[in-house]
Subunit: 345 residues, 4 copies
């Protein structure tokens, strides 16, 4: 019973099948293959717009950093939540790719930054003064690091601030599918219609082996992208294998089905745990992550029973994170809830 | 009949099988899985030494650039052949990863740099003078961009120069297996015993989907590697899928069998073509690449018949490169030779 | 009556004289002149140790960034106060020079970070985990951006934390002379004896035209410095002119005399203003800067009378910063106090 | 008798006077002073165009690197002569400032690149192909490292190639005044009228202490310049002292007078030496540098007599470089010629 992360999973069957199918034949390398060339069209359909270009990359860190490097000059700044993955978990990748831009940190409950807070900070910012890094982009995480989702109007409000100050709006969508499944809106509503410029469209956590797509909703922002990708070592020679994963992931709504399942398991887990005495949810459950606070003794007892999860907030914290995935079984969820009930009794 | 490159191939069956097998179960992410943890031991066996550490990455450009960044400071220089992949085909990746080091170019017949030439250049170099970038590493390509191989004593001579001037010695082994199969020596003889410090051990071109290993024969050179890999976006969350490819590739000598086959097909192709009137080999064939010069009309005629290959040396050149691979069929080779015979007749 | 900054001043007479004297004759360039070669010895005398090396540079930003680049790898982090000059006023220079390291911000009253706070943050830090930038250095400002000074034992406490976690300790001493003059201790006590590794020794604000020295108290930390300086364009061909400024600045205690005067003028200003109704000091005055909070109407009235100063804390703030310098006249201070008395009456 | 370089000199009297004059009073810092604000106008007069902006910096390396960073993306390339200062003598500064762009080297007699050669190279270049760095700029040195000058029509021919391929044209004018004085054309003819985009206008070697101007003839190319300068530590707080040097240098034609004198001394030196038996000029003398080849014994004998100069081409070479300056005395030249005559007799 492993709730550590959605990246402890393998790939879903549809992706594995697509990968195997892509293995046949002699095919042009470096993305000049049919699968890769068809990707932009596929994303255009899903996002209901002709105005996008999409590129496959293998990791979320690469997707995020390449996106930010397109939006922010070396002397620039990216505004993000203090707990953003790009700030806390990428070992300075955004700084590396941008050539030394700075991440400026915002607070915000449940992992979400707030448009009004952003607007106030930017209003006071010394734009155009050479002593200070110049804001280039805002980056959101969807779903957030706290397992919550930005609604379309949350994003639209932030996007309005971005437009006012001419900042690009990037979304780290490592769990975009989970947020979308939760909100039950269209992919278009949650992105370009709300003002998103670039999306790191995650697939790895939700069923792929190692595949993400970088989706530019304003193609002019992608002008230099291919050079940056290449010199970062992220242009794959046998690109078909990246594209095939995305293909299998997008076919027949696999991606949303996977996400809905993971979300349902998280909701079931949250509902079960929240009823128990001494347990409280640290954040609303709006995707596939459950953050619960419970007594230290209960955490230790659950670990001893073989349940696997991470503590959140560092050593000694009594909040744990439980992550469900496309392949989480109901019985695993119920076992966790049952065990928690026993140790808390 | 596609001789454009060995990267137009898919993956070999053994690698696909290993990949599928790795898909089972819940596994620690980011390389803390058994397959990845076992990689160093596997490479120690193959290279017959306990003194190495190995790390999987997905592309050759990433492997090369990460290696060079470990060996060379930002104010440093890497000495390499003027036709090296790191110079010509990586869009400045070494410069990006090192933080702006310079590649210094050497000549050399058939893609090989010469130890005496290197020694002469370094003897005259202003070491320790702050106006000039400081030599940090030498990088060889094995097999070379001209399809030739450095023999162990070629490498040993170069390594001796490196040691004298305290430079690291890197080998870009995108086609290391092909060189090794050709030379019929041990992997140890061709690397650390000859003085190689770091090897980009290629697998992608020879049967993997997207997998290389960075092998440090002096583990102390790898100290910072994991941070550099992570911030470059090359730490895969589901690392098992990279490691599984390498595992399948190394099992039961698949890698050498694949390479031997590709080499044999190249030799057959070269032998067949060299006999034809008006055809000459531009370089010795010591791996899986054949460079032949032939009349312009013959090139055009072969293209018209559907044979695929690249011209070498730019538009208008009459040298073509033919690359064979682990899955090149004898009948394809014979068809090419046959067709060439006809168009030249 | 200009209290905007100590950099609105020209140079002090002793520095101008030294500069003119240095103009004679033909002299080796790039620092191979007697003035430059003598600098390390001069600093060794002032800091009472043979264990230092000193290099002239022209700006504080260059000094700070070069120091941090010596202490911190590209995947590293520098811990500093949230209001540090390196964070707020250098347009990302530390990120540029280090190749993308991150500044991690600490709070702390009156511009000073606190050793216990630093220790707590570092104790919880995931050292050695590749997902996170690795702490490389702590940087203090002396005197601080709030015009306060770290005492030797403040620094020693911070240095102890640095040693525990193997971090370098850098001091941005743009106003080091002012802090030292205030504390009335030895330069040694305030630096290497307390555990400082590298000092940006400022001269520009306190009487030079454009000259700082980078002083390494552990010479082994300076190994690569000359290459970094050169490639940043900070190796001056006619280096004698930088060194001459430092020479004139250090001769006969000019630097401390200048600083004592500036401090005395700040103290006089603070004492005079603090007595006035509706005026409060925002920070203790421990160098040559006075931060006072006073009614908006009074600020406007003083500006209208031609007094020049900056508001602190952004537009609309009612705290102003008044900076005195080596050449501030007593009558200017008294005029300011007198005028403030009138507008507040 | 020191002919090692024009940077062994101090500053000329007019510059020292201007510097002293600039020391008076309280003046806005960071370039918001009258001297600095007037610089662009001064350069507009000298270059006879309203279409330029000029910025002072302290070193030639900073000027060159900042210019190239404005013209070339990190994945870009700068084409220059193999002996260019930016390639050989700046310790990788262009790579540092551009974020890792590559210098591509061209040959060319007497230090000059050739428009036809450049055109041929660019015609064959794989523009738009992501595997390769993308040409961003061409950089010339004026006068060249061989002491020769590009004539306006040489530059115009190169500029035409640049325009065709949309490359920026930069001129490293460390000795621009010397080239201009030699050619006896207008500053406009030698720059923007011939197609130059950005000029590093040198003053240090020809009479300043440490001052250059970066002159953008297409102001839109300077958009981000101020941020790059600041984060490189090249924004001086007491900027008036940089600007004053340039002011004194430009006043009353001091700069051209200085250059004409230096050139005349070089011409006299060349004429005197060329007549001697066993002496030959390695390059035409078109500025203030004389490259002469003479017997080893003569070189040793001249060194023994106390004449100072550098060998050119490394240890053992028998070509020496003699550089004259604004303050070289006729009698020094004659002494050198006389001594050479004796040792060669």
């Amino acid at each position: 019973m492993d709730f550590r992360s959605d990246n402890v999973t393998g790939a879903c069957p549809e992706v594995m099948t697509a990968l195997a199918a892509a293995n046949a034949g002699s095919v042009s390398s470096y993305g000049d293959d049919d699968l890769t060339k068809g990707l932009t069209r596929r994303f255009q359909e899903i996002f209901e717009t002709d105005r996008l270009v999409a590129f496959p990359v293998a990791t979320g860190t690469a997707a995020n950093s390449l996106a930010l490097a397109q939006l922010t000059p070396p002397f620039g700044a990216v505004w993000c939540h203090a707990n953003a993955h790009i700030e806390e978990d990428e070992c300075g990748a955004p700084e590396f790719y941008t050539g030394g831009a700075k991440l400026v940190l915002l607070g915000g409950e449940h992992g979400r930054i707030d448009a009004a807070d952003l607007a106030a900070r930017l209003k006071a910012y010394p734009f155009g003064v050479e002593h200070h890094v110049q804001p280039g982009a805002v980056s959101l995480t969807q779903a957030t690091e706290s397992g919550t989702a930005y609604r379309p109007d949350d994003i639209a409000a932030i996007a309005e601030v971005c437009r006012k100050y001419r900042l690009g709006l990037h979304v780290d969508g490592a769990r975009f599918a989970n947020a979308l499944a939760h909100l039950n809106c269209s992919a278009a509503d949650l992105t370009w219609k709300a003002g998103v410029d670039v999306l790191s469209f995650g697939a790895t956590k939700n069923g792929a082996l190692a595949a993400e797509a970088l989706v530019f909703f304003r193609p002019e922002l992608a002008t230099d992208f291919v050079y940056r990708r290449k010199r970062a070592g992220h242009l794959f020679s046998k690109m078909r294998f990246l594209s095939a994963q995305l293909d299998g992931y997008l076919d027949d709504g696999v991606w949303l089905r996977n996400a809905r399942h993971a979300n349902a398991m998280a909701a079931r887990l949250a509902a079960g745990l929240a009823k128990l005495p001494g347990v409280s949810l640290a954040h609303p459950v709006e995707a596939n992550e459950v953050f619960v606070t419970l007594p230290e003794a209960a955490i230790v007892a659950l670990e001893a029973k073989g349940f696997r999860f991470h503590r959140w907030g560092g050593a000694g914290a009594t909040t744990i994170r439980l992550v469900t995935a496309f392949n989480t079984e109901e019985k695993a969820v119920d076992a966790m809830v049952g065990a928690a009930g026993k140790v808390l009794a």
